[in-house]
């Protein structure tokens, strides 16, 4: 590792740097959303950008999620490259008409004539005692929709690197930033790095079990892998990075190697992305599995406010480790 060439920064800074870089490179790019300007972003992500780029490129919108998301679609179709920020996924439900009924399907309905090169960023996830209306993880739900691409950067490198290829993509891309990750620090190659928005990545190698996860789940899974390692169980951790389209190849390769799979997702299990993953693994690798696929997901409750209740509702490293220890053929 060439420490010299690396720079420490927070996930928040990484997102900001990515946006700044894009706006400097291409003046078709602009940022629009609630409180992105004067306030500096509800999570402080765009702090300083209004001063740097001016109010024509960092646009504070009224609280009209449907209106400004749709305006982003129109601007994209009219030749611009907007980054629409929706404060959190919870409020994106008010824009879901525009995302699902418009952005996702213009290309198809027009027989290939009109693509929508739009990027929508939003914060997602729970764990901050914000109760049921502010703590959802609905990225898996958007991943249900053909026509959308769904990215879930979990590292500083991805937070920095995924935006530009998302802007280059001719189709609508949703980027989900887990709120807990904004303060997370990591190392960033000096010149930024080129990452793709199509593959999953193995973040930890291991021979005994594959933990398949994304977003905040990556960090909890890595912690679980640490716990397991002390007991002699080597977990491989696969960071999905992209929820749509799923990178089957990387997932199957890992599970073929370990013969055990556990999926970690803060989202709900019923009908969620974890169900899809479990199904794909079972369909493809049934005879290679040493034991049934396991899932550690968010409890099927609206997020509770009280800390102990909320924490109990979320996947935790201990729970992940415990689940794995119970899996067939493994001994701790």
């Amino acid at each position: 590792m060439k420490e010299l060439k690396q720079q420490k920064m927070t996930y928040r800074q990484a997102v900001r740097e990515a946006m700044r870089e894009a706006m400097i490179k291409d003046d078709r790019v602009f940022l629009m959303g609630e409180d992105v300007g004067l306030y500096g972003g509800c999570f402080n992500v765009s702090e300083g950008m209004l001063e740097e780029f001016g109010s024509e490129r960092v646009i504070d919108t009224p609280l009209s999620e449907s209106g400004f998301t749709g305006a982003g679609i129109g601007a994209a179709m009219g030749g611009m490259r907007p980054i629409v920020e929706i404060m959190t996924v919870n409020f994106s439900l008010l824009a879901s008409d525009q995302i699902i009924n418009t952005a996702a399907i213009q290309l198809y309905m027009s027989g290939g004539q009109f693509n929508v090169p739009l990027v929508i960023r939003m914060a997602t996830g729970g764990g901050k005692q914000l109760a049921a209306q502010h703590s959802r993880s609905l990225e898996g739900w958007y991943a249900h929709i053909p026509g959308l691409k769904v990215l879930t950067p979990a590292t500083v490198e991805d937070a920095r690197g995924m935006l530009w290829p998302a802007l280059e993509d001719p189709d609508p891309v949703l980027i989900f930033e887990n709120t807990t990750l904004y303060n997370y620090e990591g190392y960033m190659p000096d010149n930024g790095s080129i990452v793709d928005i199509s593959t999953a990545k193995v973040r930890r190698n291991g021979a005994d079990v594959s933990i398949i996860t994304y977003g905040i789940g990556l960090h909890k899974s890595l912690e679980a892998a640490g716990i397991l390692a002390e007991e002699g169980i080597e977990a491989e951790v696969v960071d999905l990075r992209v929820l749509r389209p799923l990178d089957n190849e990387t997932i199957f390769k890992s599970v073929s190697k370990t013969h055990r799979a556990v999926i970690v997702d803060e989202g709900w299990r019923s009908g969620g992305i974890s169900a899809e993953l479990s199904s794909r693994i079972t369909e493809k690798l049934f005879y290679e599995l040493d034991c049934p696929v396991e899932r550690v997901c968010g409890a099927e409750v609206p997020a509770p406010y009280a800390r102990h209740l909320e924490q109990a509702s979320l996947p935790q490293p201990e729970k992940i480790a415990e689940t794995i220890k119970q899996m067939g053929g493994l001994h701790g």
Partner: protein, 353 residues
Amino acid sequence: MGNYRMGTPKKTASKKTTEKKAVSAKPGKSEKIHLLTQMIRIRQMEEKTYEMYTKEKIRGFLHLYDGEEAVAVGIIENLDKEDGIVSTYREHGHALIAGMSMNSIMAELYGKAEGCSGGRGGSMHLYDKKTNFFGGSAIVANGLPMAVGLAMAYKMQNRNSISCCFFGDGAVDEGEFHESMNLASLWNLPVLFVCENNFYSMGMPFELAQAETDLVKKANAYKIEGAAVDGMDVMAVYDASVKAINYIREQKKPWFLECQTYRFRAHSMFDPERYREKDEVKEWKKRDPITTFTSRLQEEGLLDEDELNEIKKRVAEEVEESVEFSEKGTDEPIENLTRFVYSDEPKTLNKSK
């Protein structure tokens, strides 16, 4: 999915300003006859689609525009080629007047590969890149935010184009209408909002849906100037749109136009029309935009019977040809089912001009 690249980043999002001429409020004989012809084209095309629906050549939802022709013609005839149009599921007329060929429209209704969207959109989703026709949306009011965004792009690129958005009275009930009006006004965007008030949203009478039925007042509440016109009178719509379009281009602000009109046919092909009296329809038919304008031109001595018959004959031929074209159309191969879910080739479509 191919790996599309934006290419060399654009440092300047086109600063070329195309000069748009102010549209003229004084159409002469040939322009007036053209307006009539355009309305007849819509009417005859719609009657044919009705017929072909009953013959099961066209399926799904079909929303006809009979009675409302003066709105599409009176407005779109004054738009520039570069102006964007956003419409609804009742958009055959808008698409035709925007410059799409009747063949590509009819073939789309037939669900053929030769249709404008290769049979993926159907009646409610006509699109055409060449004429800047950004489609029909079948979600009520869902096109308004797109029109706002197109206008944003035009403004950011210093183009003098405007976006023109058609929607029904039902759209006024929706939040997207109000959000869009506010955004367009707040940001001084060149949007022409055209409400085609035909006094029903499916079976819901307008006055039972809106507490304030004066729509211009609503526009004014968003600090948008506007007017209400007789949407059965093509010249009234034409004059109102000349004023509106000139205002938008000069003032760089939105304008709201309510066109009061009436649909002669049922909402769609599945509508038993329990909500309105036959007499009401009969009364409105006396104000048929085509027959009234025809009489006016005849009274003014601008049109004789032979000329009128000639127009109708020519249009009938165009309609027949579109049917033949569609009958001969081919089916999009099933192998192409998943084509265009994502872009699979570099697109230059959206590059700023």
